[in-house]
């Protein structure tokens, strides 16, 4: 039995040698695919396994990507919209733009780009939340707030 790491970075298996041969034929694994034989902890390229080397080299320039389960990359859309509306508009908008980019890039198959956009979306959500929190705290301790509080002014905004 063998486990392999697919072109998508995920682990597949354990599968039998016949199944692995079939994957090589289908172009789902190639000589560079990392394989771990059962009982071993070492990952080696498929080409270094004598039993697969020939089969793998026969299909030498193969497609690298295995069956593609869509990777789950969070886009942080919900916190982005919430931070736009409740905390800090300008930074929140930046977060929404990155959230949209995550899905756009994911649809185009650009997984690295989507991951980067996802990280940016998360970062800008935090910046927006932080800016909103700091501004609110500053306001809470400002003299103007106490003035309003004492006069029990009607608030014109929320």
């Amino acid at each position: 039995m063998f486990k392999i790491i697919g072109g998508d970075g995920k682990e597949y298996g354990p599968v039998s040698a016949e199944q692995l041969h079939e994957w090589v034929r289908d172009g789902r694994a190639n000589a560079q695919t990392l394989v771990q034989a059962e009982g071993s902890t070492e990952w080696k390229p498929l080409g270094q396994f004598p039993e697969f080397a020939q089969a793998a080299s026969a299909t030498m320039p193969p497609p690298v990507v295995m069956s593609q389960p869509k990777p789950n990359i969070p886009n942080y859309l919900v916190p982005a919209v919430l931070s736009t509306i409740c905390c800090c508009l300008p930074f929140g908008i930046v977060a929404i733009i990155f959230a949209a980019q995550v899905n756009t890039k994911l649809q185009a198959g650009d997984i690295l780009g989507a991951t980067a956009a996802s990280r940016n979306a998360r970062m800008w959500c935090w910046i927006a939340f932080g800016a909103g929190a700091i501004l609110s705290l500053l306001y809470l301790f400002s003299a103007r707030h106490y003035f309003i509080f004492q006069r029990f002014h009607r608030f014109r905004y929320d």
């Binding site: 509306i85 733009i97 949209a100 649809q107 501004l135 609110s136 509080f149």
Partner: protein
């Protein structure tokens, strides 16, 4: 955290917030946090008036709710749908861009001090 626990948590938070917004009139009491954007710029942000709008909605005054923040009220069914069925990570990107444009456009329009745009301001 399982999806079930997550849903219960989200539900509990919504019910808690709704209770407070129902009980306290944001026009009268200043217990709600004030929009930092509005405070600094004097401009209405796309979310300004949302608390008052939800307060009115919970008291059954649909028109008053729409007057305070029509976007928030119109978006409410959509938000509900996303919470129940939502997988925003697989959402078609074009809808996120549409959402962005709608939110920004609403924010711009409600700051135009001319009728009928003044209807959008809280």
């Amino acid at each position: 955290m399982t999806d079930r626990v997550k849903m219960i948590c989200i539900g509990a938070v919504i019910v808690a917030v709704a209770t407070v917004v129902f009980a306290v009139d944001p026009q009268r009491a200043n217990v709600f946090p004030v929009c930092p954007f509005h405070r600094m710029t004097g401009l209405w942000c796309p979310g300004c008036g949302a608390t008052r709008a939800f307060h009115q909605l919970l008291h059954g005054n649909m028109l008053a709710a729409l007057r305070y923040n029509s976007l928030a009220i119109v978006m409410l069914p959509l938000a509900g749908y996303l919470i129940v069925h939502g997988d925003v990570s697989t959402m078609k990107p074009v809808w996120i861009w549409v959402l962005l444009v709608v939110v920004v456009a609403f924010g711009v329009l409600r700051n135009i001090p001319v009728y009928p745009f003044t209807l959008l301001a809280p």
